[in-house]
């Protein structure tokens, strides 16, 4: 789950991490009110994507009139596919230096890692590549968290020793926030040193582990798929779905198998319209729901279902396919490959319903690409 900048800053503030004063505006007039209340402000497009600045999604406004003009320009823009519906108006900061502070899970080290750099701002990834020594890292023990001496050491290694007293609580609060929200990634960038010597989080990112959402049922993040009705619908159906740019609808169980199915479709000269993983142990209704979703995509010219059951049972899959075929009145060719747990029963059910399953994924991919090509002629 991802969050918009202002949602992240609300959480920072609640966790004791200073952020600039700000207000949300959905219209240019609301931005005028914000400028009236706050003085000179930065007006920032609220979209769940990076690179807003370069796209013109951030503007400074010294007066309410300037705020109106800037907000008018930004509201309604499309940035990386996301329409700007809200802007965050916050007190403009007099910044003397910009740092980077982030936390992510390092899958190789299998630990959370805190990252601190005296060279913050937009180019942090470039810094990481060109001056790796400018990026100080601290792998926290997952039980102990970052200890005071480790945080001190991190700060001195980043060359920020003189700011130790101010930075250490920032780092501890960031870690506590990450833990309490099961954050996969949390970033303060830039972490700004202002003219008056204070530290303030002028931008932030937060992404929460979807697996841990059951612990955070009251959290509402950014809807990062609201501009794609199919992705939104898939989310509602709790299906792991990603839209792609081809014409073969792909349904499978297990990310590796689905990814491999995409590869096979491409080898056969086709291109997948989507990635859809029904996961392990899916019931007939899930298969039904997945087929219904794919069938509603006008780009789809053929559907490939590739199931190798372990925890998923062949009979459940077959029932879902049969019911969906009957209920949906499919007009595009459907190719099913079914093997694994309860394979015999599943295949028998399919045969009885007039669907002949393929026995290998390659054969199934070949057939669906062929049939889709014929159907399109």
């Amino acid at each position: 789950m991802k969050f918009l900048e202002y949602q992240v800053k609300e959480r920072f503030k609640a966790a004791g991490i200073p952020v600039p004063d700000g207000r949300l505006a959905r219209t240019p007039d609301e931005a005028v009110l914000a400028a009236g209340a706050l003085g000179p402000i930065a007006i920032k497009a609220q979209v769940p994507a990076g690179g807003r600045g370069k796209a013109g999604g951030i503007k400074l406004a010294k007066t309410p009139m300037e705020a109106k003009r800037a907000a008018s320009e930004i509201l309604g823009m499309t940035i990386k596919g996301f329409k700007v519906r809200e802007v965050w108006c916050e007190t403009a900061q007099e910044i003397t230096r910009e740092f980077y502070l982030g936390l992510t899970l390092d899958r190789d080290a299998r630990k959370p890692v805190l990252i601190l750099s005296a060279q913050g701002g937009m180019e942090i990834e470039e810094v990481a590549e060109s001056h790796p020594a400018a990026i100080a890292r601290l792998h926290a023990d997952p039980w102990r968290g970052p200890l005071p001496f480790e945080v001190r050491d991190l700060i001195f290694r980043a060359g920020l020793g003189p700011l130790q007293g101010q930075l250490a609580p920032f780092i501890n609060r960031l870690y506590a926030l990450a833990r309490s929200f099961d954050a996969l990634t949390i970033e303060i960038n830039p972490l700004a040193l202002t003219r008056d010597g204070g530290l303030v989080a002028t931008d932030g990112k937060l992404e929460i582990d979807e697996n841990a959402i059951f612990r955070h049922k009251d959290l509402h993040g950014a809807d990062d798929s609201d501009d794609d009705p199919l992705e939104a619908e898939a989310k509602r159906r709790k299906l792991t779905y990603v839209r792609l740019d081809g014409s073969i609808g792909v349904i499978g169980n297990g990310a590796g198998l689905v990814m491999n199915t995409l590869d096979l479709v491409q080898r056969e000269g086709g291109r997948a319209a989507n990635f859809l993983d029904i996961g392990g142990g899916a019931k007939a209704e899930v298969v039904h729901s997945a087929l219904e979703l794919i069938n509603s995509d006008p780009n789809v010219k053929g559907i490939l279902i590739n199931i190798f059951g372990g925890i998923t049972r062949g009979d459940e899959v077959a029932r879902g396919v049969i019911d969906a075929s009957r209920d949906l009145g499919l007009t595009v060719p459907l190719v099913v490959r079914l093997t694994g747990t309860r394979e015999d029963e599943g295949r028998r059910l399919l045969q009885e319903a007039g669907i002949t399953p393929k026995s290998t994924a390659t054969e199934a991919a070949h057939t669906v690409v062929e049939l889709a090509r014929e159907a399109s002629r």
């Binding site: 899958r107 198998l257 925890i311």
Partner: protein, 298 residues
């Protein structure tokens, strides 16, 4: 011979009385696995599927002397189940459960490491030593006893490879699905080292996927001239669009490592034979082990 699991292994099932636990325990028993105990807190003293049930793993281990556990408990409780097994002296933990919060796993993995215990998974299909025993959910009928070791990050692709090899007459020693989650127990490197030392294993198939850099590390650290056995490699997700997430966070592409290209290159550099399709994997493996194993399929 084989690695990690054998006919004599005494197996515990955590979450035995649940729906998945029950179904797969029956399958494991049908395959010949010696399931000696189950754990379901509050159901201690009962019997389920002919297996005695205990309240705690500590008690189950004390009474049954189980050495291996298969975990089928729901995601919110699975990390705790892993740690309970590690603390009770289980030597090999196989966690099938999918969807465990990553911070839970980070902690559980540190715990398991401290306890000096092996963990496979989570979010994995488990492992089979062909013709001997199974812990997990790999379908029984596809395995065939032989000389090929399999290690894979993908559950369902593992089945593809096993089935393909078995149908080609090429059986397996042990097939290990290490799981697709970002935070895992055993890595490719660790399983490959075990295969290296297993006399019965004559070739190893390694099925990777995009994301992380475990494949690269295995290529650099383990595979190579010293490995002494052919390695046949395969990476799925080559046509996945960069940056989009594919189900497991494991498929997030990070930095320059983790891409299919980086992994394929590392495997080639280490001397592994890299294949484009599962069919090619099967063909290359059959060629590598000489002739099909003569053992009967089961």
């Amino acid at each position: 011979m084989s690695i990690l699991l054998a006919r004599a292994s005494r197996v515990l099932v955590q979450g035995l009385t649940g729906r998945e636990g029950s179904f797969h325990t029956e399958q494991m028993k049908a395959y010949g696995t010696d399931v000696v105990a189950g754990v379901s807190p509050g159901k201690g003293g009962s019997t389920h599927l002919g297996v005695p049930v205990y309240d705690t793993v500590a008690e189950a281990v004390r009474v049954s002397r189980a050495e291996v556990t298969g975990i089928f408990v729901p995601a919110p409780f699975a990390a705790d189940a892993i740690m309970e097994a590690a603390a009770a002296g289980i030597a090999l933990i196989v966690c099938i459960t999918e969807g465990i919060p990553l911070y839970d796993m980070v902690r559980a993995r540190a715990f398991v490491l401290d306890a000096g215990v092996r963990l496979i998974g989570p979010n994995c299909p488990g492992l089979v030593t062909a013709g001997e025993a199974k812990v997990g959910i790999i379908p029984n009928h596809i395995n065939r006893q032989g000389t090929v070791g399999i290690v894979s990050r993908s559950g369902t692709l593992t089945y593809e490879v096993i089935q393909g090899l078995s149908q080609a007459g090429c059986g397996q020693t042990t097939s290990v699905g290490i799981g697709g989650d970002p935070i895992l127990g055993l890595s490719f490197s660790e399983v490959l080292r075990l295969f290296k030392d297993d006399a019965a294993t004559r070739a190893v198939v390694m099925i990777g996927e995009i994301g992380g850099s475990d494949e690269e590390h295995a290529a650099e650290e383990v595979i190579g001239p010293g490995f002494g056995k052919p390695v046949i490699g395969f990476i799925s997700g080559r046509t996945a669009p960069p940056g989009k997430r594919m189900g497991h966070a494991g498929a997030i592409i990070s930095g320059n490592t983790g891409t299919a290209a980086s992994k394929l290159q590392a495997l080639k550099r280490a001397g592994a034979e890299v294949c484009d399709t599962i069919e090619e994997v099967v063909a290359a493996t059959v060629a590598a082990v000489g002739q099909p194993s003569s053992a009967a399929p089961r």
